[in-house]
Every structure is written in structure tokens, then in C-alpha cells.
Symmetry: C2
């Protein structure tokens, strides 16, 4: 049968990372490639209590069709929580999404026309590039430094439908934007009439001090904010949220209705039961402490083992180290040898909207215990030294 | 801030039904408007056991990121179950989706270009029109009779990207396509090179005899099949599935990844725990018996109360009666008076891709007990008689 694909289907491609992850699931391989949180942090006991309570007290509501906007108490919780972080939002601005990945898809659906421009950090989150690519934009890469994208670099993004930013412990670089840089970016974006899409899956995973206020706090109706429960509770529930300005909200909501009617009400009620009485204030610090110790282990291992000419910066939160190898080393070409040596990573070029940067790679430190991190980094270092 | 919307955003509109439902949630109104299954059918005890078991036996896997294709045992279950219905599919052809609404969105994303044609029954499921509309097709309405669309009417759909069909107890008409009509449609569609998208949310809700085999059983690689757990278990879990031919599968899977990475693994494992040992063979007959009794009640009430000139056909499965009023009565204009009289319905014109047919309406018989159905239909009849 001659199925004729939409033109946009050409822009849909297998996730390189997911293909790599399949290879690296072989026994005996230590994977530093994943973007998964540590399953040791999942609050299983709290989930057991919450699911039992929801199915005892409100099974009919939890299992029935529900509002596309999301469960009202959870929306109010999100608005209140963001308020404590300096982002003042009304519950009426919140849409609960099926993971924050869906937020990216809805934003793309509502804002991107074929051939329109979307400005992104370079490198940036691969899943965002995939979500947006389905709507056929041209990507403009915004140059930056260790503090974030450069305000003057936004001139290249003039006329873009939006600027997509991951200010906190970015995937893949681990970079956290400074407070001053955030304000400068918001000011310059406003001058240019450039809306901001702010994605914050990792902001709660700070190690020593919370990150600066969200850009959205300063950008007002010039920003959409995306958040997630995947890194502070569990990704297998697929719960995220979008906070949208009044002008955008109705269209995002209609796109949400068309996409999956609503996010599973059962999951929303369970999560609300888990978090309603301040659970995260006790729970998230335990995740931070664990990840900080593993960050320390990876930093020590990199310092001890990596050959000269490799550069990295220790992240102050999140899940990732970003490593720049000597210019002549191709991390993609090297991956099979690393896997042979028992360690896997994600080649960095996959995170760049226009490819290149073959001499970069991403390492996750959150799913592997400290002693294994040391062994794995040592093995990686031997492969690098041989190259 | 001058957010510029994508052109497709113009095609996104509030769901008329959801707006109506808001009005009709006022106390004292009997709503025959909803498309909700009866909450009395939700298997709460089985859910309680299954959630407890999943969180006891595999919490780390259930709460972690998971494969975009879906939980392998659930995919295998779907393939085996469809086999018993005459549709031979491999587990490798199944993608678990976030409700079958997401299946419609993914099909639209992969197959529809702006200005391309999509052929639909007229009337058809509003949510499908909404999902597809976001990709800016032109809709072609395919004429039909009580047995389904007419094979010769497919000529009007020549060149369409696909023909969207709801063969079993269609929403909104309740119509079930005859076996002969299914085969004739598949044969004509094959001659025309016209792919079929078969949507089957209601097929298990038969009252006296199962529906004929799916069109997909005869159409082979010329059809995509969509199914759902919403009507046989609970919609609040948001679980559906797509069965796709080899040529289409990779693109649907990549669209799925971009849309929400994967459907909640927790929900998939819980549902698999509920159904793995044949639970639905005991459970679904109880839903059928309940809905059949309520269908009987509504048929009796319509026969007793509705004024002359109104026409309907009793459905042999599903959830809906479709009523044609005398030509001069506008069901949309009449709705406020019906609501005043204490009863709500959905005006039929909303289900037609090009509007019109103002003298039609849809009544659900599944959420309201028989005695209330009688009262509500009597009230509706008085409003109609006055018009």
C-alpha cells in the first residue's frame, strides 16, 4: 500500500541516544550514557501509600476522563511552588502535561511553522530538537560561554518564533546560567521581541545553593515555563507542566486536548497525594546529597585518570559532566572501543542542532555508585589515551 | 510580547463538547451529553491489587523511563488479543499510546501535510477531527447508509492520505458496519490506493453478538489500527495502542518519542497486571450487560416519549443513540431550553466535518441509570414537542 508520508516525517529520526542505550544495556557495560535519574531515589513507600489512598477515597474521579488543564489542586500546587522560587503564576496559567516532553511538543505545535526560526543553545537537549523538528523549523544556534548564551548573540535570533533555554544544569553541558546573564538575556530578548521558552527539569537538583530565579520571573508574558516531576519523583509517571501567558494558554490547551485529551488523572492525583504535605522538602535533599557525592566521585575520577588535553567543568547541580576531548578525537568513532572496554557515554555531536563538535561527550554520574564511576572513568581514560 | 502563532493554531479550537459539558455539570441537570464510560464499571479492587503488586515487585522499573514502544508484555498481550478477533499482528507492530487520542495525533503528524486530503465518515468522532485538523488537511466526507460508508463514495476520497473509519458502534451515530460492507470498503480502498485508519474504542461493548472482523484483518499493510483500554477498564489511565504496518511503524514511533518519550510505564504495568490472567473475560461482560439494559431503557423511553417526526435506530453496542429531529428544529438553538428543563445532549452538527445537520443530536445512555434515563428523555421530549 502506497502510504504517503507528510513532509515533516523526514525530520523525524530515531533517537541516537536511545539507539546507543540499547547497545549499552548489554551485561558488563557500565553506562554513563543514560539521562535517567537514579531509581534509588524513587519514593516507593510514599507511592504505595498514595496509590492506596487515591483508589480508596476517589477511585471514580481518578479513573474517569478529566479536565484537559489538569487536576486543579495539582495546578494550584505548581503555581504556589513556583511562587517560592520567585516566579509568580496563577493556577489558571498551568497545564499539566504528559511529561515535560509533551510541553515541548505543544509549544512546537502552536508556535512553529515550516521554515520559521527557532533559536537554541548549542549544544542543547536532544529531545527538544526532536520535538521541534517535527514542525520543520530552521534552528539558529546561539553562542555562549560558561555563564550561558551571550546577550549580543541573540541578534542572530532576531525574528525567531522563540528562544529555547535550559538555564539550570543544562542537558548536556551541566551549565548553570548566572543571575546577571539571565537578566541580560531577558532584557535583550524583550528588545528584540523574542519570546523565551524556559525548560527547567533539573533546577531542584542543586548541590550547594539553589540556582538563580527563573528567567520567566523577569520575562513576564514574554516567556513560557516548563517543569517536570521526573527528576524529583519518578519519570515513569510522565508528569510535567507548562506555565503559559494568557495569550498563549488557550492554544496550548487546545493542542493538549487534540494530543491526548488530558494527562492521566490517576497519576496526577497520586502525585498530588505524595507531595501535598511538603514531602518534597524532605525528599529532594536526599537526592541532592546522593548526586553531589557522585558528582564528587566523577570529578575526582576525571582529575585522576583523564589524559592531558581533555577539558571539563564540574557541574554545581543536575546529572551531567560535559567533556571536551583533544580536537583530533572523534567521540562517535571511539564509542565502540569504549564499549569494548566496558564503558558507554553519549557522543556530544548529537546535541548540536547542526552537528559537528565530534570531540565532545556527555557523562552521567547519577545512576552509577562512586566506586563504579571510578572504574568506568579509568577504563574510558585508557581508551582515550590509546587514541 | 508579540508571540507569533503557527498557522495551524488557527485550526485549533475549543472542544464544543467540553464547553457544553461545563454548562451541564450544574446540579439538577441530567447529562446525556457525555462520552464518558460509567464509573460503576471501573475495576477498583483489581486496580488496588495490581498497583500494590507493581509497586512491591517492580517499582524501580515501573517508575523509571521506559521504551517508547511500550511495555513488552503488554504489547504482546495486545497482539494476542487482536489475534482472537481475526486481526493477526505481531507484538513488534504495536506501540502503546497515551490514550488512543494520541494514536490519532501521531497518525496525523506522520501522514498529513497542509492542504492534503483526509477522508472521514460524516458525522465522525470530534476528537479525531480535532487531532487531524492541527495538521491542516482538507476533510472529504464519505457518504454512507445504515451499514457504513458506501464503497462507491470512496471515489470522492481518491488521493486522500487516508480514510478514517470507526466501524464499531461509531461515535456519534452508534452505527456498526456490516461484514459485507467492511470487505467491500477494503477492496475499493485497495483499488484506489487509499490507506485506512481504523479506530476501535467501542468494539468490546457489543450487546448480543460481537462485531464483524476488523477491516484491518482484510486490509493488511493498507491499514493502521487503533485500540483503547478506556472503555473496558478506565479512561483515567490514558492507555491505548496503535498497530501499524512495517512501512509506517518507525515514523509513528519517532513521532511518539518526540511527543512524550513514552506512555507512563507505571500505568502500563498496572494494566498488564490487571488483565494478564484473563480478567477482561469476566469483567467486560458485566459492562455489556449494564450498557445493554440502559440501551433498552433509552429505546423504550424514546419510543414512549419522543414526538412524531423524530428518527433513531437502536445501537447494538457502544454508548450512543443518534437522533434526527424534524428538519426545522435546530438542536444547538434548542439546547439552552433543554438545559432549563433539566436535560443535556450534544448537538449533532459538531460531529460533521463541514457542519450543518442542525437537526441531529447525540444521547449517551451509559452514565445514567434506567429510571433517570426515562425522566430525562421525557423532559427532552417535552422541549422537542414545544418546538
Amino acid at each position: 500500500m502506497p502510504w504517503q508520508m507528510a513532509r515533516r516525517a523526514e525530520r523525524l529520526n530515531p533517537s541516537t541516544i536511545r539507539e546507543i542505550l540499547k547497545i549499552t544495556e548489554r551485561p558488563g557495560i557500565v553506562s554513563l550514557a543514560g539521562g535517567l535519574p537514579s531509581a534509588d531515589t524513587f519514593p516507593v513507600a510514599a507511592m504505595q501509600e498514595a496509590t492506596a489512598r487515591v483508589l480508596r477515597d476517589s477511585p471514580r474521579e481518578a479513573l474517569q476522563y478529566a479536565a484537559s488543564e489538569g487536576f486543579a489542586p495539582l495546578r494550584a500546587w505548581v503555581a504556589a511552588e513556583l511562587g517560592t522560587q520567585g516566579l509568580h503564576a496563577e493556577a489558571s496559567q498551568v497545564i499539566i502535561t504528559t511529561g515535560s516532553q509533551q510541553g515541548l511538543d505543544l509549544v512546537g505545535k502552536v508556535l512553529i511553522d515550516p521554515g520559521s526560526t527557532v533559536a537554541v543553545e548549542s549544544p542543547t537537549y536532544l529531545g527538544a530538537l526532536q520535538a521541534f523538528a517535527a514542525y520543520e523549523p530552521e534552528f539558529v544556534a546561539v553562542d555562549g560561554d560558561a555563564e550561558g548564551p551571550l546577550p549580543q548573540a541573540l541578534d542572530a535570533a532576531r525574528g525567531a518564533r522563540f528562544l529555547y533555554l535550559l538555564p539550570n544544569y543544562q542537558n548536556p553541558t551541566g551549565r548553570c546560567m548566572s543571575a546577571a546573564r539571565r537578566l541580560a538575556l531577558v532584557a535583550r530578548a524583550r528588545q528584540l521581541g523574542l519570546p523565551i521558552v524556559e525548560d527547567n527539569p533539573y533546577g531542584d537538583l542543586w548541590f550547594d545553593a539553589p540556582p538563580p530565579q527563573p528567567l520567566s520571573a523577569a520575562a513576564g508574558d514574554g516567556a513560557v515555563y516548563l517543569g517536570s516531576f521526573s527528576k524529583v519523583l519518578a519519570p515513569g509517571l510522565r508528569l510535567g507542566y507548562v506555565v503559559a501567558p494568557e495569550r498563549l494558554y488557550p492554544k496550548l490547551l487546545q493542542a493538549k486536548q487534540a494530543a491526548d485529551l488530558h494527562t492521566a488523572g490517576f497519576n496526577q492525583r497520586v502525585v498530588y497525594e505524595v507531595i501535598r504535605n511538603g514531602f518534597l522538602r524532605e525528599h529532594v535533599p536526599t537526592i541532592r546529597a546522593r548526586y553531589r557525592a557522585q558528582r564528587d566521585a566523577m570529578r575526582a575520577a576525571l582529575e585522576q585518570h583523564l589524559p592531558p588535553g581533555c577539558r571539563w567543568q564540574a557541574p554545581v547541580g543536575g546529572m551531567f559532566f560535559w567533556v571536551e576531548l583533544p580536537a583530533h578525537i572523534d567521540a562517535t568513532a571511539l564509542l565502540p572501543r569504549a564499549v569494548e572496554a566496558g564503558v558507554a557515554y553519549v557522543p556530544g555531536s548529537t546535541f548540536f542542532p547542526h552537528g559537528g563538535h565530534a570531540n565532545t561527550l556527555r557523562l552521567s554520574f547519577v545512576t552509577v555508585p562512586p566506586e563504579t564511576i571510578h572504574t568506568a572513568v579509568a577504563a574510558l581514560a585508557r581508551v582515550l589515551a590509546a587514541a
